[in-house]
């Protein structure tokens, strides 16, 4: 199972990177960034996964006896943080994109930044 997770997250990362590298539309670039981020988060969770693992939540003495079968909690904690960072980046970049549209009259990342140039 771990291999399936890692393979699919890597393919997500590559799809996203292709988008970031080639697209011109800022909104598309941001979507591609979000795809990479999802891939990375999945990769991190896959790193903590073990075959036949159980959730790291204690419910009774039985689960304490099975501590060795629990999946790694640290990557999940890291992913929780990275999701919030991704949300922040997206919100900030989208508002910048709206401002960009107002000032440049275009959503192309290759629009010229200098003042007084007509597009």
């Amino acid at each position: 199972m771990t291999k399936v997770f890692i393979f699919s997250s890597l393919s997500l990362i590559f799809v996203g990177l292709f988008g970031v590298l080639t697209r011109k539309n800022i909104v598309k670039i941001l979507i591609a960034l979000n795809i990479i981020e999802t891939g990375i988060n999945m990769l991190l969770v896959a790193f903590g996964y073990i075959e036949g693992g159980i959730t790291p939540i204690l419910q009774s003495d039985l689960s304490i006896a099975n501590l060795n079968k629990m999946v790694d909690p640290v990557p999940q904690a890291l992913v929780l943080t990275s999701i919030v960072i991704g949300l922040g980046t997206t919100a900030f970049a989208l508002s910048l994109a709206m401002r960009y549209k107002n000032t440049h009259n275009s959503v192309s990342i290759r629009a010229i930044d200098e003042e007084g140039v007509n597009i």
Partner: protein
């Protein structure tokens, strides 16, 4: 493909990416000695082992369900997020704070037309909102026992506020949101400083002695999660207001 330039860029990107994929493949089939990235490593060989066994401070300690331990949160992901690596979580709150601040700062304030909500939504919104508030509250109060916690709870509470905004029932003002955000943020660091004054260490969990599995366990974890929930809710609601409001 519209023109030759973008075709060229696409091919270049494909070449770079295939090179990267080939490199990762090469690394993954490498047969040198030492720990490889493809190795199957169980949590027992990592620092996570000590988190699971809750014996970071005292190496020989063990614990039982329903009794006290080093960290009394039943959800071990929560105990990593809000106890062992609490400082990361406080910084994460700051990340959200600074990005939302930047969001409000740069977003263009143009006029937007607000449609009048339908009567059905207007009438039924309070019921929906109460349900959402209840689920959100449950999430952060139970964050140390079950999956959930401050961030999802904040997201759910802010969705309730969004429903209110869409239904034409404005529940809170901008000023209140700002105050809630700042008070919750300052309290998080205030508790950190309080722990410095009490215990001499920043961000230490100084409420100890409760039992794993109880509703009131985990020491400061529910307090932190409550503060985080209110802060996240205030910040996300800010985004909705920013998008919706007529300026």
């Amino acid at each position: 493909m519209k023109d030759e330039k973008s075709l060229f860029i696409n091919i270049l990107a494909l070449l770079i990416l295939s090179f990267m994929a080939f490199y990762i493949y090469k690394v993954s089939i490498d047969t040198g000695d030492g720990i490889k990235i493809t190795d199957n490593i169980t949590p027992q060989k990592r620092v996570a082992d000590r988190y699971l066994k809750k014996n970071v401070v005292d190496e020989n300690s063990s614990y039982k369900f329903g009794q006290t331990a080093e960290d009394t949160s039943a959800n071990i992901v929560t105990s990593v997020v809000v106890d062992y690596r609490l400082f990361d979580t406080t910084l994460e709150v700051i990340v959200l704070f600074v990005t939302i601040l930047g969001f409000g700062f740069v977003i263009p304030k143009d006029k937007r037309r607000v449609l009048k909500p339908s009567v059905i939504l207007h009438r039924w919104a309070p019921l929906l909102m109460i349900l959402m508030f209840m689920i959100g509250g449950y999430m952060f109060i139970n964050g140390h026992l079950s999956p959930g916690g401050g961030f999802p709870a904040g997201a759910i509470i802010s969705t309730a506020i969004l429903t209110g905004v869409l239904a034409g029932r404005k529940t809170v003002t901008h000023k209140t949101l700002k105050v809630v955000e700042a008070i919750a943020g300052i309290s998080i660091f205030g508790i950190g400083i309080a722990s410095y004054l009490i215990k001499g260490v920043f961000f230490q969990n100084f409420l100890t002695g409760d039992k794993i599995g109880d509703l009131f366990s985990g020491g400061l974890i529910p307090v932190f999660y409550g503060l985080i929930a209110f802060k996240v809710a205030a910040e996300l609601s800010n985004i909705y207001f920013e998008f919706y409001e007529e300026c």
